[in-house]
């Protein structure tokens, strides 16, 4: 009897040990976050309670009745924010950048829009937990690297064990716009060759688009039964204005070309991404009414003669010109820095309020998911976090995270290593 108990105890200990190597699971239920400062983003700052039920915000306000079955979390001294949305990331589809076989964002082929980023998401990538414990709950994962149409991006919540559980309502086809840009020390072409290559690429892009338009007509003529052509089939909803085209473009001259290109083709749903030199042509972007997801913000200027803070100031200058601006990290493993990118944008001209909007409601609107993400409102997704202060300030601590109604443990590989090694045992002497 005694022996059995001992074995049971040992078994439990072993199980705990085994579990310790992984991040704990999330839990769902009814939660009431009381005594909180609630930064709704869209409807001001409210003092009071938020009730989370069935994955949604069931109630929000000063006089809210806490359901009897709710798990109450006292949020005195804490501020609640809607989960931050990273408008461009490779979390889950990239792992170790220097080890190419661990990365799944750059498929072979110039024309590969049918490649689905969502397919390649690894829900258990350690970067997923590392990112979400910082309050970045949602990310647009974007394929790309060498192709002209490298694939289809997808918006995911950073919780769940399957890509479908993570998916949260937006997909967009990526176009890496042709450039003569060089722009890297790996590019050893002459300026003349670059120009020639760009012209060739531009012509090829025009041909692809013409084909896609033709394919759309054939599709209509054959009552939706054209010959098998997965590339064209993937472009079809974009040609018809049903799906968003995400145009990756950075250099000022290329941004201008891209504006003309989408206007000439009357492409209805389009977002420009990257847009590092947007400030140079901000008026043109504003006039064309093309929204932007820009970033990284904490970055170098793109030209040696440019003012040192151009990358920091870019979102503010775009906004000032009248462009709708969201911010992205453009990172794989450090999307947790998204609030810091927003913070730099705030300090260099965008302002705190707009910077907050640029990682919450603005990307939600641009990606067509503002019905459930981007702000704290009754009926929206229970995707939020609690912070000890302004979450853009590094000194603030994120203390509760909910995604899609799931309470996410404040656990990640980085935190586990901290817990194990802060006071290592054994120390120097064993």
């Amino acid at each position: 009897m005694m022996k059995n108990k001992l074995i049971a105890a040992l078994a439990i200990l072993l199980m705990v040990g085994a579990l310790r190597a992984q991040v704990a699971s999330s839990t769902k239920g009814v939660f009431a976050l009381t005594n909180a400062t609630i930064q709704t983003v869209t409807k001001g700052v409210v003092q009071g309670t938020i009730v989370l039920q069935d994955g949604k915000i069931a109630a929000l306000g000063t006089n809210v009745t806490v359901p009897a079955n709710a798990k109450v979390i006292d949020c005195k001294g804490l501020t609640l924010y809607p989960g931050f949305i990273d408008g461009g990331s490779k979390v889950g589809i990239g792992e170790i950048s220097a080890v190419s076989v661990t990365n799944d964002y750059d498929e072979v082929g110039e024309l590969a829009p049918q490649m689905q980023a969502l397919t390649a998401v690894n829900p258990s990538s350690p970067a997923v937990a590392v990112t979400r414990v910082g309050g970045v709950t949602t990310a647009l994962i974007v394929p790309g690297g060498s192709g002209r149409f490298p694939g289809t991006a997808a918006l995911i919540n950073l919780v769940g064990y399957t890509p479908d559980q993570m998916y949260t309502g937006f997909k967009g086809v990526v176009l890496d716009f042709p450039t003569a840009g060089g722009g890297s020390r790996f590019d050893q072409r002459s300026e003349e060759d670059r120009k020639k290559d760009e012209e060739k690429a531009q012509k090829r892009l025009n041909d692809i688009w013409a084909q896609a338009v033709l394919y759309s007509k054939i599709d209509s003529a054959t009552a939706g039964k054209p010959d098998y052509n997965p590339e064209m089939a993937a472009l079809l909803p974009v040609v018809r204005g049903q799906q968003t085209l995400l145009v990756e473009v950075d250099k000022a001259e290329d941004i201008e070309s891209a504006i003309k290109w989408v206007q000439a083709r009357k492409i209805k749903k389009v977002i420009f991404t990257g847009v590092a030199e947007g400030w140079r042509v901000a008026d043109k972007l504003a006039k064309a009414n093309i929204p932007v997801i820009t970033g990284p913000v904490i970055d170098l200027p793109t030209r040696s003669a440019d003012r040192y803070d151009r990358a920091y100031a870019n979102p503010g200058l775009l906004k000032k010109a009248g462009v709708k601006v969201a911010i992205r990290s453009n990172s794989t493993e450090n999307g947790r820095n998204l609030p810091f990118h927003a913070g730099f944008a705030a300090a260099y001209g965008l302002g705190k309020e707009e910077a907050l909007r640029a990682i919450t409601i603005v990307p939600a609107e641009l990606l067509g998911v503002a019905d459930h993400l981007g702000s704290l409102e009754v009926g929206k997704s229970a995707t939020l976090f609690a912070s000890t202060g302004d979450p853009m300030e590094p000194r603030s601590q994120i203390v509760h995270v909910f995604i899609d109604g799931w309470q996410v443990p404040l656990d990640s590989r980085h935190i586990q290593l901290y817990q194990e090694f802060l006071k290592r045992s054994p120390g120097v002497d064993k």
Binding site: I96, A98, G181, R303, N334, E393, P394, R395, R424
Partner: protein, 457 residues
């Protein structure tokens, strides 16, 4: 003739003017919150700078005649930020032609026209450790520089009195460059150890032979010296403690290996660079007295940093390891104050602890703590003024001062700060140096060298 007189004067005297301009300045900074780093934080305090040195810190100081006053009311005054690991202000990073290249010195390749130096100043960084790259197990000698941007004379970049330093490198980079790239040792961490031991042993023998010769010479005028060997001569300086090792490293095992090598050769002072797994061997580092210079949160860009934690700096600090945060990047060197602030999110370091990571601690690692790294009377007047607290995300450097001279002024500086403008390329071309933050500048020069090899792959 008169028409050209001014022009002639300008041409005739401009080199002198440049020299005169670059020496030292005097300045009174009034009424700021002074973060001294070593002697607490002082509100409503003045800092008087005379001839490039801090002359006085206190209340109600009056400016001596002819000394300009800067109003720092509501602002934060801190010592210039120091980067213990960078590659700016130099034209060459890697001499990747041998696993041991101690004979080369990046100080021979100083480039005072590097715009990165101005940008570093715009981020409050006044000194940096311009390092050789990590291609070789024993790389070249490094150069501690002061960011005296404006001078065209490379010599003026060298920091006076800074100890000599040398780069060592463990792990994937020397393995990849030599073992995989060139088919010679080291291809493994076993090989890295033996390459380093061989280099140090040859230096020990060389130094002993030299000493034997010097003794013999006293009695025997025909005594023969050992064949001159610059490589071993420099490494003999490492063994004698004249040259400090800054060792690129990531994994715990290779850090322990290097500590053992140091013990065997009686090397007392070593700073581990990057040292992403330093947290795993923090007790061993502390016991040895080794320092660590780390990134705030970089990880997963290569396999040897996959098991990293952003709490590294905190764990090292809490275990008593002298720790700094470095950039290894012309981007990150502009916001080391923000990198230091991340240690407050990841482990809750105090303001003083976090600021020490980018001031007095890197100064100690470079052996220049008697001159820079804190605001103290007698130290170099390297100062940065922020509008908000430097650890706040809203803290923006306003004024950066080196040796009492204002080298960055946010309000008044023109946009284009290039010193050498190529008339053919009056409009600078598009270049994204840091589009990918996973770029390992430690390997700059190697990719270009082996580009064909990479293409073949």
């Amino acid at each position: 003739m008169k028409k050209y007189f001014h022009l002639i004067c300008l041409l005739a005297f401009s080199p002198l003017f440049l020299l005169a301009q670059s020496k030292a300045g005097s300045l009174l900074i009034k009424n700021g919150t002074v973060l001294t780093i070593t002697k607490g934080n002082l509100s409503n305090t003045d800092v008087l700078i005379v001839d490039g040195k801090i002359k006085q810190i206190g209340a109600n100081i009056t400016a001596p005649a002819g000394v300009k006053t800067v109003d720092a009311t509501g602002k934060f005054v801190m010592p210039g930020i120091i980067d213990a690991h960078s590659h700016i202000g130099i034209d060459a990073v890697n001499e990747a032609t041998n696993p041991i290249t101690s004979e080369v010195h990046v100080g021979d390749a100083i480039n005072p026209m590097d715009i990165s130096v101005y940008r570093a100043l715009a981020g409050g960084c006044t000194s940096s450790h311009a390092m050789h790259g990590s291609a070789n197990a024993i790389g070249g000698q490094c150069q501690t520089i002061k960011h005296r941007y404006g001078t065209m004379n490379p010599e003026e970049y060298r920091m006076e009195g800074a100890p000599r330093t040398i780069k060592f490198a463990l792990g994937e980079n020397p393995k990849r460059v030599h073992g995989e790239g060139r088919g010679i040792q080291p291809r493994t961490r076993m090989g890295v150890e033996q390459v380093i031991r061989k280099g140090l042993e040859e230096a020990r023998i060389y130094a002993a032979d030299l000493k034997k010769y010097q003794e013999a010479k006293k009695t025997n005028p025909n005594a023969l010296p050992p064949t001159y060997n610059r490589r071993s001569e420099v490494l003999a300086g490492v063994l004698s403690g004249d040259i400090l090792i800054h060792c690129h490293s990531y994994r715990a095992d290779e850090i322990l290996m290097m500590l053992n090598v140091c013990k065997d050769y009686g090397i007392k002072k070593i700073t581990f660079q990057h040292v992403n797994e330093g947290f795993k061997v923090a007790p061993e580092l502390a016991k040895f007295g080794a320092s660590a210079s780390v990134f705030a949160d970089w990880w997963a860009y290569k396999f040897e940093v996959y098991y990293s934690t952003a709490y590294n700096a905190t764990i090292l600090t809490r275990n008593g390891v002298l720790t700094s945060i470095n950039s290894d990047s012309q981007d990150y060197i502009r916001h080391l104050y923000h990198e230091a602030a991340k240690t407050q999110r990841y482990g809750g370091l105090t303001d003083d602890e976090a600021l020490a990571l980018i001031t007095i601690n890197p100064a100690k690692q470079l052996g220049i703590e008697n001159k820079v790294g804190s605001l103290e009377v007698g130290k170099d007047a390297d100062v940065v003024i922020f509008d908000n607290h430097p650890l706040s995300i809203y803290g923006v450097p306003q004024l950066t001062i080196v040796d009492g001279i204002i080298r960055f002024d946010r309000q008044n500086d023109a946009d284009d700060q290039r010193l050498e403008v190529d008339p053919i390329k009056a409009t600078s071309t598009y270049f994204r140096a840091s589009a990918d933050h996973n770029d390992d500048r430690c390997l700059e020069g190697v990719y270009e060298m082996t580009l064909d090899w990479f293409k073949d792959k």
